[in-house]
Amino acid sequence: MSAYDLPDQRGHFGPYGGIFVAETLMQPLAELRAAYERLRADPQFQEEFTEDLRLYVGRPSPLYPAKRLTANWGGARIYLKREDLNHTGAHKINNTIGQALLARHMGKRRVIAETGAGQHGVATATVAARFGLKCVVYMGSEDMRRQAINVYRMKLLGAEVVPVESGSKTLKDALNEAMRDWVTNVENTFYIIGTVAGPHPYPMLVRDFQSVIGREVRYQIMEFEGRLPDALVACVGGGSNAMGLFYPFLDDAEVALHGVEAAGEGVATGHHAATLCAGRPGVLHGNRTYLLETDDGQIIETHSISAGLDYPGVGPEHAFLKDSGRARYAAITDREALAAFHELTRIEGIMPALESAHALAYAAKLARELGKDKSIVVNLSGRGDKDIHTVAQLEGISF
């Protein structure tokens, strides 16, 4: 098998990806592509990025052998990749640092972002503060209501948070609005997309910035196992933490890749966000990928307990990995994720983000299936502090 080298020049991962935007954005995207191609090969840029990850984000993040959890599940050895220990509490900052550096090199003084739960918005506002960039974050008004604390965090960091009232007033609408801002202010503005979606080159560059996760795992696992893990597990919203973990392993056929989507109240109920498991290919937000849509091609509202997985599309590279069989995708319900949240908190003293809890719940099943002589790395994409309100509310507790 030849080495994996997607996307192609036009941003295609097989039939997926590409560039599906109005003409006005074609040239700005070409400029972004050219700038990224140049900087990607520039050792000085790479060093800047690596230094920021080390000194500002706190990388490398540990690979933690979760021995009590392993014993509890009675199967494969479980390792947690601790992205929750990053500055701002999730993997999102790896990408925002990379894109903010790119913005600076392109001479753009204003950055914009979309956010659902507010994690990517906070990570963007954080790097904007650090680099002295003006920052505007678009957020569905419905999400702003649900995530008031993150809205305030972004404001403290100096960002302007603009409520989006169109459509379903959630993440997908915030993304539309950020695109509209970009098309209007493209001369001075850099759009920092929060996941491996959007038009080419975004899925590629976000993946590249996040792939530090998998590169670290490759050498960290050697200390414990002396060989590569048997399986990797990560949750999939847009798919950036999963691509970051998977990408450095794509050519290692012996390492199984598992993406975990949000089954919400159950895929059969229709209230879910399991795009790859239950959707079909279409075109949204600048790329061709799997979507959750009606029979007439209108995008539908999704449901998940975790706002970060609540998205009706998914990165095009995951669509390709699914069809090619290289990665497998499953879905975990709200209830299963919540149980995993409590289990990790009580057994290991680590409170995971509800997004990451989906990966954990699936890993528990996989661990039993694989058995004791195998090893699994689970991407703990974020910490659960942001979700305490949600969890408390579900248990009928109010502060």
């Binding site: 599906f20 109005a22 459509g167 029979d295």
Partner: protein, 279 residues
Amino acid sequence: MARIAQRFAELKKQGRRALIPYVTAGDPESWVTVPLMHALVKAGADILELGVPFSDPMADGPVIQRAAERALKHKVSLTQVLDMVREFRTGDAATPVILMGYLNPIEVMGYEAFAGRAAAAGVDGALTVDLPPEEAGELRQALRRHKLDAIFLLAPTSPPERIRRIAAAASGFIYYVSLRGVTGAAHLDVREVAAKLEEIRRHTDLPLGVGFGVSGPEAAAAVAAVADAVIVGSAIVRRMEESAAQPDKILTEVPRFLAQLRAAMDGTAPQMQASGASR
């Protein structure tokens, strides 16, 4: 000759510019669309642009977004839009109709099925906002098989090599987006537009339409002085929104506004225009 080319040829002979109003199909009620199309033609429209509502209209400003939301509230689908065109054709065989929308509903229907059904319904061309020519090969072929025009956008940001490529891929006319922004934005600079149109004309003989920022009669007249067609969307849809609660009023108010645009473009008084436009 295809209806769009024929219409532009007629207008050229008369020394007039095309007026192309945009309305979102099914806004605010499904029954409004076909009578409104006829009324717009009567008031001076040369070509009609019919918007196919989509849940995520990334290139549209708030006015057209809300129009799509009103239409989607009663689930207007691409199939229904085609039915509307078929119904319109029973009363008007001459006025070209262009569908404007986003790719996903067409993807779901299938390119070949869409082109075949659109042609059978009496559609003349399709403009898919989020489909640049780089990705449009297959749909363009399907449209061509059914003798439909593939209409593409050019923008202030389009460099010369893209202008060349898009001019080669387009048919019917080329739609020049007059500003950096979404539909309905308000910073149209006619001098900048004129300069860009001149550049585009070096690469194509196709008629050039200008849209996205034409807000009223004055802007329409200014654009008519430099372009072959004036496309008016948000300004019309805003008037539809004002009467959304009384759809009957739309059928008088919106054509009245269109007649004002027509008069401004032709340099005549609106009353004269209203009678002169009943072709």
